[in-house]
């Protein structure tokens, strides 16, 4: 990863130019051509450093979501995690260090769709699913400041 890659990651987390040829515009800022911007971004996506060029939405502006937690017996964790991840509505699924050891986000069109997924998981696993919807959002999304040390 060179200094151009780092600038691509640092300086374009927001305000992607809303013009017909945004990658050409980025290239003009970085002093490289459009083809090179596209090639570098493809490489960063393949390497896993970039998830996608995309939008971060205000919560609940175009659908409903919740954070859910389960206390899964350790010997069942692998199987229950796989069952949870298989839902298209689940977009994050982490094991965390706590008695409540499985944490995931469910997003769907409406609250009833979200509820249906939680109920389905509880029914199929026999484990209670804690529903922790967002009540207040204090977060100002400025992207993720990277420290290259």
């Amino acid at each position: 990863m060179d200094s151009i890659d780092r600038r691509l990651l640092d300086e374009f987390q927001h305000d992607l130019p809303l013009v017909a040829e945004p990658y050409a515009a980025i290239g003009r800022t970085l002093g490289i051509g459009e083809d090179e911007v596209i090639a570098r971004l493809k490489r960063l996506v393949e390497a896993g450093a970039v998830a996608r060029i995309g939008a971060v939405m205000r919560p609940h502006s175009c659908g409903h979501s919740t954070l859910a937690a389960m206390a899964v017996p350790p010997e069942r964790l692998e199987a229950v995690a796989a069952l949870v991840s298989a839902y298209g509505e689940v977009n994050h699924n982490y094991q965390r260090e706590h008695r409540l050891n499985l944490w995931f986000v469910v997003a769907a069109a409406g609250p009833d769709d979200v509820r249906a997924v939680l109920d389905d998981i509880a029914r199929r696993t026999g484990i209670e699913v804690l529903d922790l919807p967002m009540l207040e959002d204090f977060h100002i999304d400025l992207g993720f400041p990277l420290r290259w040390t």
Partner: protein, 164 residues
């Protein structure tokens, strides 16, 4: 819902990421029956209204060396939650900050923050410093380090009926 059907279609098409081609907005528009100018105008309007918080490169922390992340949860008295939440959200160490319901007795915590770092020690030091500096060290808290990532992708607000 703060968006109309056309906007919802556009946001849905964008979930998979903006295509890495010379005219990405034109290509995005083809999937939803809009021309390039309409896509750009709608994305501009959604950003101005704050529905789109940011549009750009979405990095993956873990792959960039940020291998430790902790969800730090706080049991803050109800009358102090909003003020404390606004203060913690402004801290450079905090990347997400939400209020969520308590579920006693299993779950007494109501303020959720996320802290990322290169390793566990860095995250622990950041949390301890934050707690003292912001005057929240006296409140009960739990630190839930992430041990394994089973799945991570962008949200798809799909309609169940349409998806089946």
């Amino acid at each position: 819902m703060d968006v109309n059907d056309r906007e919802a279609d556009l946001i849905g098409a964008l979930c998979g990421g903006l295509p890495l081609v010379s005219r990405p907005f034109a290509e995005l528009g083809r999937a939803v029956g809009m021309d390039e100018d309409e896509v750009i105008a709608r994305l501009h309007a959604l950003s101005t209204r704050g529905v789109i918080r940011r549009l750009g490169v979405i990095v993956r922390h873990h792959e960039l060396g940020y291998r430790a992340n902790a969800m730090v949860v706080w049991d803050i008295p109800d009358h102090e939650v909003s003020e404390t939440g606004r203060r913690l959200a402004a801290c450079p160490e905090v990347t997400l900050c939400y209020r969520r319901p308590r579920r006693p007795p299993a779950w007494p915590y109501t303020l959720f923050t996320m802290v990322h770092g290169h390793d566990r020690a860095e995250v622990e030091a950041a949390i301890a410093a934050l707690a003292v500096r912001e005057g929240v060290a006296r409140h009960p808290r739990a630190v839930l380090f992430s041990l394994r990532r089973f799945k991570q992708c962008g949200a798809r607000y799909q309609r169940r009926a349409a998806a089946e």
